[in-house]
């Protein structure tokens, strides 16, 4: 039904993920080598008919049991630690900064506009390629963990604290981010889409996002705007440029431009949008949004038409 982009730490597309993948390959290779060696020695020890040479066995026990592991682990630790400064270093001053709030069970995303005004979106993060990006991470309820496996490591989002992460994408593409800390009922459906593009495309997108919502043009969409307002959708959702200013749920100003719905759960199609509004809890059990099961058909059609054109 839905096709999702890659979500693998072994398919790196960012500097952090590359280092981590490299460390993983070195460790896996080393572990395989040591395993073969140990098993080989064990087979040799069983098969050899005569008694083992006393001095040689002692050397093997001390050397292979204490010295070699110490040396190997020290090397691995040094190698691992040597990556830390770069992974931990904040992005240089003036880099793009993105604020991400973990909320059960979705992601509030805020970019800072040219004049410092926040540009809100949700469940979708777009990034320019080949430049460092600083993430400030928050939680609005319980501990979440922010992880884009293809781009870098994961960092916990802790209520009452700000944590941070730098990512540096190295190739364009679509990726998937997840919540990597169990946070309650719909944890497994708390995901987000990541789109890495060239700088110009990104800037165009950000400029589009910073604009208030477009006024509906068709009669149906105009009617949908009235439904949105009268049915109280604006109590939870904001649409910039309208009276809707709710902060409890995701900002919907440019919902029509997003790839997916419900925190990267359903492709953003008309049919899925209808399902999301009316069968919310079948689609995503435990979600906070109440299901508008009883919305009359004409209002639903108009509402969906309005939301779709919020590009």
């Amino acid at each position: 039904m839905n096709s999702f982009p890659t979500q693998s730490a072994l398919d790196p597309a960012g500097q952090g993920a590359e280092s981590i993948a490299q460390l993983f390959y070195w460790m896996s290779g080393g572990a395989a080598l040591i395993w073969c060696l140990v098993i080989g020695l064990a087979v040799y020890a069983i098969r050899r008919p005569q008694a083992h040479h006393y001095r040689l066995t002692r050397l093997l026990v001390i050397g292979g049991g204490a010295v070699v592991p110490t040396v190997v682990l020290t090397c691995l630790l040094s190698y691992g630690l040597s990556m830390m400064p770069e992974l931990q270093r904040p992005a240089p001053e003036g880099s793009l900064t993105v604020h991400v709030h973990g909320v059960r069970w979705w992601w509030r995303v805020e970019y800072l506009g040219p004049s410092g005004q926040p540009i809100a979106t949700a469940n979708e993060i777009r990034l320019p390629v080949d430049q460092p990006i600083e993430f400030k991470l928050f939680s609005e309820d319980v501990i979440h963990s922010f992880w884009i496996p293809s781009l870098g490591g994961k960092v916990d989002m802790i209520p009452g604290r700000t944590t941070r992460l730098k990512l540096h994408p190295t190739r364009v593409g679509q990726f998937r981010g997840v919540c990597a800390e169990y946070c309650g009922g719909a944890h497994a459906q708390m995901n987000f889409d990541v789109v890495v593009s060239d700088a110009a495309t990104f800037e165009r997108w950000l400029a589009d996002q910073s604009a208030p919502a477009s006024e509906p043009e068709t009669d149906l969409a105009v009617a949908g705007k009235a439904v949105f307002s009268q049915r109280g959708c604006g109590a939870c959702h904001a649409i910039r440029g309208t009276a809707a200013d709710g902060l409890v749920g995701p900002d919907l100003t440019h919902l029509g431009s997003r790839l997916r719905l419900g925190a990267s759960l359903l492709d953003n199609t008309r049919q899925n949008l209808r399902r999301w509004i009316t069968q919310t809890h079948q689609v995503k059990p435990k979600v906070e949004m109440p299901a508008f099961e009883a919305l009359p058909e004409d209002e639903l059609t108009a509402l969906v038409a309005y939301l779709e054109q919020l590009k």
Partner: protein, 374 residues
């Protein structure tokens, strides 16, 4: 010893056989016309009195001194109880007089019961006595006005009773007559209520909301031992007529002088807390604002959602508490309120009830912006 046991066994078997013959033959009359033997009546009365006394232990009696609470009880009584028990100054209907046991004349009978015991009897009914249970098990709050009425009943005259339960229609149109018969004892002819703060003000309420509420009562989807019997036999046409009748009544204004313009200076903290919550919600607790659905001023807000301005604090508080305990039920839109009510603290409920029951808009005021103020 062994012989004794054998004789005893034979005796028990014979008695059981005799019992079975009596039971199966149908020789014992079940007829009500002859009443009970005195001894049977005494045993049954004693047993039921002991049972009520035992099971009503621990029932907390709320304060029953709200204004007009007994009027609400009287109107409920008139709709449901009068058919068997009669009423102050009104004789017991002859059909009920033929019952065994005969439904007691309550003006005298109530004096032997405590308030908690009356509550227990009204809520649960009495087996084999023809006394039915309350129409829903979810609304204990509705039983207390009846208890308040029963407690006061000995002092009520026929005129007192008729003044409360009988309302003459304002005109002879079909819906006005129906409203007078079905609704007006509690809600008043104008919808503004005459049976205390437990009864919602219907005047000027959204017509779609009123229809949906009546249909939900009729279909057993909104729980009320008062309203379900009233709505049970209303067809869609009558419901529409009643909804239009009350929606067309002029909405009474909140008393007091705190207009939207003037209330900024009000230091009443509960009002301010309610105002802030109603307009902005509480993002930390994920509570949405109220006014996006329950607008302060018509025509904003959907017809399916009730207007809250002008309802009593008592009514608003109770509805939120009923939503919390899932004891309210409601139309097909009621589920929207469940997650919201669950997140409200008692203080927040109190604040919202205060705000909506007191806020007053001047006709010239602009619709409130729900952006944070100050």
């Amino acid at each position: 010893m062994k012989r004794r046991l054998k004789e005893l066994s034979i005796l028990i078997v014979c008695l059981a056989l005799l019992g079975a013959v009596v039971l199966v033959s149908g020789v014992v009359p079940i007829k009500a016309s002859s009443g009970h033997w005195a001894i049977t009546r005494w045993v049954l009365d004693f047993a039921s009195s002991r049972s009520v006394s035992f099971h009503s232990r621990g029932i907390q009696v709320p304060k029953l001194d709200q204004p007009s609470i007994a009027d609400l009880g009287a109107a409920t009584f008139d709709n449901n109880c009068r058919w068997c028990h009669g009423a102050p100054g009104i004789a017991q209907p002859p059909v009920a007089a033929g019952m065994t046991p005969r439904p007691p004349r309550l003006s005298e009978a109530v004096q032997q019961w405590e308030e908690a015991e009356l509550f227990y009897i009204v809520k649960h009914g009495i087996k084999f006595a023809g006394m039915p249970a309350w129409a829903t098990g979810q609304r204990d709050d509705e039983v207390w006005p009846v208890v308040a009425f029963l407690r006061d009943m000995p002092s009520w005259t026929e005129q007192d009773y008729r003044d409360v339960v009988q309302v003459d229609p304002s005109d002879t149109s079909e819906r006005a007559v129906l409203a007078a018969q079905r609704c007006a004892a509690c809600h008043g002819l104008s919808g503004g209520g005459r049976a205390g703060s437990r009864v919602p003000d219907l005047a000027g309420q959204h017509v779609d909301y009123l229809s949906a509420a009546l249909r939900a009562y009729r279909d057993g989807k909104r729980f009320s031992g008062i309203m379900q019997p009233v709505a049970a036999d209303l067809d869609d046409e009558k419901i529409a007529g009643l909804a239009e009748y009350f929606a067309a009544q002029p909405r009474s204004e909140n008393p007091g002088s705190e207009t939207l313009r003037g209330d900024a200076g009000r230091e009443d903290s509960q009002f301010q807390v309610g105002k802030n919550l109603a307009r902005n919600g509480d993002q930390n607790k994920k509570i949405p604002s109220c006014i996006d659905c329950h607008a302060l001023q018509p025509p904003a807000g959907h017809q399916d959602y009730p207007m809250l301005v002008g309802l009593s604090a008592d009514y608003i508080r109770r509805q939120l508490e009923l939503f919390q305990s899932r004891s309210r039920g409601g139309s097909e839109h009621a589920n929207l309120m469940h997650p919201i009510a669950d997140k409200l603290s008692n203080d927040q409920i109190e604040a919202l009830a205060t705000y909506y029951s007191q806020v007053k808009l001047d006709p010239g005021d602009p619709p409130p912006s729900n952006a944070p103020e100050d």
